[in-house]
């Protein structure tokens, strides 16, 4: 009886001392190379968020801010323009696996590449800044691909949500004036910012604390 109790206590102590087991969705992410890619992706998403703010300041007139309260007022125009929306990214779980998550992120990034390209074409902007943002999105996509490669999650490429030509055809008639062009650009950047924040949260959740630091 005593022996049983002692064993039980020892197990309890061990369970307290030993680190908590890593849950299922993160088991695959302990790979240093994967973590490296996550860190790189996290850095790039931060850069994208910085670039969005900077580009918005240069491209969009001051009346349209990135504040969410203001953007809620543009619901009607958003519906009117019917800009394609990026897929939602849910927190990682058993139902929303890493593969699905990365796929959704890739799809969303490609969508925003197309959207930004078309909108910048229709609403002339500071091309260098837009190019820079597009390159950052591309680099982030490369990191996602790398993660998919590392985990053999890229069986087939995601379907293209919308092609440039299709989007340009759809959008061009709607952007009849400068205001609407600016609103389209504003909504594009706003949507990209929201998406990037979701991606940032996801990457943060993918990060396994490392002992390599201090």
């Amino acid at each position: 009886m005593h022996l049983f109790l002692e064993l039980h206590l020892a197990l309890c102590v061990l369970s307290l001392v030993s680190p908590a087991p890593i849950q299922e969705p993160w088991k695959d992410m302990q790979d240093p190379e994967f973590q490296e890619a996550v860190e790189s992706g996290h850095s790039l998403i931060r850069k994208i968020l910085d670039d969005i703010t900077e580009l918005h300041n240069l491209w969009i007139p001051k009346g349209l801010s990135l504040d969410k309260k203001d953007s809620s007022k543009l619901k009607f125009l958003k519906t009117h323009l019917n800009l394609p929306e990026a897929p939602a990214i849910k927190p990682l779980s058993d139902s929303f696996t890493l593969g699905a998550c990365l796929s959704q992120i890739a799809t969303g990034l490609k969508l925003h590449q197309t959207l930004l390209t078309v909108v910048s074409k229709l609403s002339p902007a500071k091309s260098e800044m837009v190019d820079g943002l597009l390159c950052d999105i591309r680099d982030l996509l490369l990191q996602v691909r790398k993660m998919q490669d590392l985990k053999n999650l890229l069986s087939k490429p995601e379907p293209q949500p919308v092609s440039e030509s299709q989007l340009e055809e759809t959008l061009a008639p709607k952007l009849s004036d400068e205001y609407k062009k600016h609103v389209a650009a504003h909504l594009t950047l706003l949507q990209l910012r929201d998406f990037s924040q979701e991606v940032s949260r996801t990457f943060r959740s993918m990060t396994v604390p490392s002992n390599s630091g201090n």
Binding site: S40, E128, S212, G213
Partner: protein, 838 residues
């Protein structure tokens, strides 16, 4: 625009290459020269053919042959061709960078060039080397790639193309001709992703490619200087640094290599070691531990991404670790100065931290307490310095030294008080320079071998308040390197043997780690300046400017005609007299000061020696003239008047022939006698000699008639106080004589001084009868003086001066002759006097 330019350039290059490789035909009305290419591989064989057209006017109906003139340097040979109108040659090894081949139609020896072709020899591009790329994170981001083209073949154009490839997506960039770098735009590379980069060079003869380099552009970036936002303390011995990248690079949240450098700001107290930490960290916070307690540190950091170049060091930030009470012991050196007075010693205590001592704070004060048994303490010093002077009562045996900071006190360091300070010093102490900052000291143990330890002490003499440093040395050790000294500065190094019951006398040496020439030479000052010499003196060089021990001075001086002279002096001398100078000359003087490390010349000073002045003439000439004159006069006088010489050289010998007895005072005739020091007062002098040579006859007879009368009546008196009656009788009788009478041979008398000669005791004067028969000298001289008829007396001078020659009648002559017979000497005197009158 760039793309357009690149495409045009590419087209031109390709066209030129195409053209160069197509068959090269150069034709004229008579002929066509055909070469396979205008650019050929250097060293390869080239075949060139000349096709003579049928309608060529130069060949119609005429015999001709084809030649390839001006190709003497080309090794070629003809190639037989079945077609008679084609003349072909082969150049076996074409090495010229450029060659022009001419085809000429010749009739006999008359040749005409009808066509030609220019061919170039070249090589394919060499292998490209050293392809490097550097990412620039300044907007717009770019990747600057450079390469080394190798040895260029400038005779033909070469095109370079930079290739980048990101996950099967390729980009090509062509730099302008002659440039060997390219700034790849943002789309041509990715961040945090492998990019394959290579360069390709193409010319008419081939292509070469650099190695394919796979790299992450982020690994080539030199990041901006990081920022230390805050340094805080939460744990003992640790500093927490909150840091970030620069604002424009804050998006990078990856692990990075960081280096933190911590420098103690107060190196005086304890460890002076710099702490350096290298770690991987994301921007945020990092702790640096194992630091000294209570120490102010200056923190700096730099950062890099993997193998990228380090950023610059950040701006320093200062923070202090948490304070603790001091720990560990102090090393002490107690010196008792002089003898005790009023049962007290004057003492100096020096201390320094031991290796184990930790101040644990920036500001530490020290308390020195005198300990009297059993546990009575008296604080004599409370100081922030590391030395203290105080007085110790003779009964105190121990001193306690305690370090104190705001967090607490250290355990006291006990210092034993040694009373005896007069014990033996070491036998010697030698100091050898070892480096610019250190010297090697060597000493020998004292005669008594009971030394427990040695104390080596040194102090810088150039400092206004010399700080004493010391080292406690084991008794078995006999040498020590003293480091941390300054070159060219003087130090006093002393060694004290420490005995069981006291401390020995110090042995002190002044030393330099290195010596060099003094910083300046002293300015000579002029002292006395004369026509033939100049005195120079100077002050000692200040200690700070000596740079070594002054070994010697050397004075260079030269005159208007550049005749240089040198005077050497010891280093201890400060004065020199430059002698043998010429008057009225300008002299330039330089003082050279030397140490063993070198010499330095001072400034040139000039001085003009004065001409010889009147004073000097007076000093020299007048004494010389006076001397000469006196000498001359003396010699002249002596030789002209041998009497004087006689007087000077031998004692006066009375001449009885020219003598008559007379008495006078010395004052009336001092000049006629030799000067005797003893004879200063007018006293009576009794002489046997008396002369009237200097008196003329007139003078003799000059005077009042009474005198004459008196003389005629023979009434002349004689002071008979010191002369007896006989003598007075003789005198009286001597006045009665005939001047005309002369005798052939007369006896003479020896005249004896009535008074002593010089200091002899006086004897009564007496005339003695002479036994000699020698004739008297006086009769030979015609100018013998007249006889004195009356002597001057002191008592009655009016009666004394009566001189006369007696013109006696011849009637009384016979009586007088009979009278003189009894006094032959006096008789002879009278005879002589008569002859003089005659």
């Amino acid at each position: 625009m760039a793309l357009c330019w690149i495409s045009i350039h590419s087209v031109v290059v390709v066209w030129s290459i195409m053209c160069s490789f197509t068959a090269n035909v150069r034709s004229s009305p008579c002929a066509e020269v055909h070469a396979p290419s205008t650019v050929v591989l250097a060293g390869s064989p080239v075949t060139v053919s000349c096709y003579i057209k049928e309608d060529c006017s130069l060949t119609k109906g005429q015999d001709f042959h084809v030649e390839w003139p001006y190709q003497a340097n080309l090794n070629y040979s003809d190639v037989a061709n079945q077609n008679k109108s084609i003349y072909e040659i082969i150049i076996h090894k074409f090495t010229d960078r450029t060659a022009v081949l001419h085809c000429a139609i010749c009739k006999h020896e008359d040749c005409s060039v009808v066509a030609g072709v220019e061919i170039k020899a070249a090589n394919p591009p060499p292998a490209l080397q050293n392809l490097t790329c550097l990412l620039n994170l300044t907007v717009p981001y770019s990747l600057l790639c450079t390469w080394n083209p190798g040895e260029e073949t400038s005779s033909i154009p070469t095109t370079y193309t930079l290739h980048t490839e990101i996950r099967n997506q390729a980009f090509k960039y062509v730099p302008p001709p002659g440039k060997h770098f390219y700034r790849v735009p943002r789309n041509g590379f990715a961040l945090f992703y492998e990019v394959q980069v290579h360069v390709e060079a193409v010319n008419a003869l081939g292509r070469s490619t650099s190695e394919h380099w796979v790299m992450d552009p982020m690994e080539t970036v030199k990041l901006d200087t990081p920022e230390i936002q805050k340094v805080g303390t939460e744990k003992y011995g640790c500093l927490r640094h909150k840091w970030s990248l620069s604002e424009r690079q804050r998006w990078i949240v990856k692990y990075m290599c960081i280096e933190i450098r911590l420098t103690p700001m107060h190196g005086k107290v304890s460890d002076r070691q710099q702490v350096s930490l290298r770690n991987h960290s994301k921007p945020g916070t990092i702790d640096v531990c194992d630091l000294l307690h209570g120490m102010m540190y200056q923190s700096e950091m730099r950062v890099r991404y993997r193998s990228s170049p380090w950023s610059e060091w950040s701006h320093p930030t200062v923070a202090t670790t948490l304070i603790k009470a001091p720990t560990g012991r102090l090393v002490t050196w107690l010196k008792l100065l002089g003898q005790s007075a009023n049962r007290r010693h004057r003492a100096e205590l020096f201390w320094k931290p031991s290796l184990q001592f930790r101040a644990n704070s920036m500001n530490v004060s020290y308390i020195v307490s005198l300990v009297r048994p059993p546990s009575q303490r008296k604080t004599v010093c409370n100081t922030f310095q590391q030395h203290c002077s105080f007085q110790i009562p003779v009964d105190v045996r121990k001193i306690h030294l305690t370090a104190v900071n705001t967090a607490g006190k250290s355990s006291p360091t006990e210092v034993a008080v040694y009373k005896h300070t007069e014990q033996d010093p070491v036998a010697y102490l030698r100091v050898y320079p070892e480096s610019e900052e250190s010297v090697l000291t060597e000493w020998s143990s004292p005669v008594s071998s009971a030394v427990s330890t040695y104390v080596l002490e040194w102090k810088a003499l150039h400092e206004e308040i010399p700080q004493i440093s010391f080292e406690i040395v084991d008794k078995n050790q006999s040498s020590l390197v003293v480091a941390g000294l300054e070159p060219y500065q003087p130090y006093n190094i002393s060694i004290y043997p420490k005995y069981k019951d006291g401390i020995g006398q110090p042995y002190t040496v002044m030393a330099y780690t290195r010596q060099k020439a003094p910083s300046k030479s002293p300015e000579p000052q002029f002292g006395e300046i004369r026509s033939s010499y100049v005195e120079l003196y100077w002050d000692e060089i200040p200690l700070q400017n000596r740079n070594g021990i002054i070994t010697s001075y050397r004075v260079f001086y030269w005159d208007d005609e550049n005749r240089v002279r040198v005077t050497d002096l010891e280093g201890t001398e400060k004065r020199v007299v430059l002698k043998d100078l010429r008057p009225s000359s300008m002299y330039s003087i330089i003082l050279m000061t030397s140490t063993t490390g070198g010499s330095i010349n001072g400034t040139t000073v000039t001085v003009k020696t004065p001409s010889i002045d009147a004073f000097e003439i007076v000093l020299v000439v007048i004494p010389a003239c006076v001397g000469l004159t006196l000498l001359f006069l003396g010699v002249f006088t002596c030789f002209s008047n041998n009497k004087c010489l006689k007087k000077c050289l031998w004692p006066m010998i009375p001449d009885p022939a020219n003598s008559s007895i007379k008495k006078w005072t010395i004052t009336s005739s001092l000049q006629d006698i030799p000067s005797f020091k003893e004879v200063k007062d007018p006293v009576l002098v009794y002489l046997s000699h008396f002369s009237l040579l200097s008196l003329s006859e007139k003078e003799l007879w000059k005077g009042n008639p009474s005198t004459s009368e008196y003389l005629h009546s023979c009434k002349w008196s004689y002071d008979g106080k010191s002369v007896n009656d006989d003598h007075s009788d003789s005198s009286r009788d001597s006045g009665i004589y005939n001047s005309g009478s002369q005798t052939e041979s007369v006896p003479y008398a020896t005249v004896v001084f009535a008074n002593s000669y010089r200091s002899q005791p006086a004897a009564p004067p007496a005339y003695l009868r002479s036994e000699s028969t020698q004739p008297l000298l006086g009769e030979e001289e015609p100018s013998s003086p007249r006889p004195y008829e009356k002597m001057l007396t002191q008592a009655e001078p009016s009666e004394a001066d009566h001189f006369s020659t007696f013109q006696e009648d011849l009637g009384s002559k016979q009586e007088r002759v009979s009278l003189w017979e009894d006094f032959p000497m006096l008789k002879s005197l009278e005879v002589k006097g008569s002859s003089h009158q005659a």
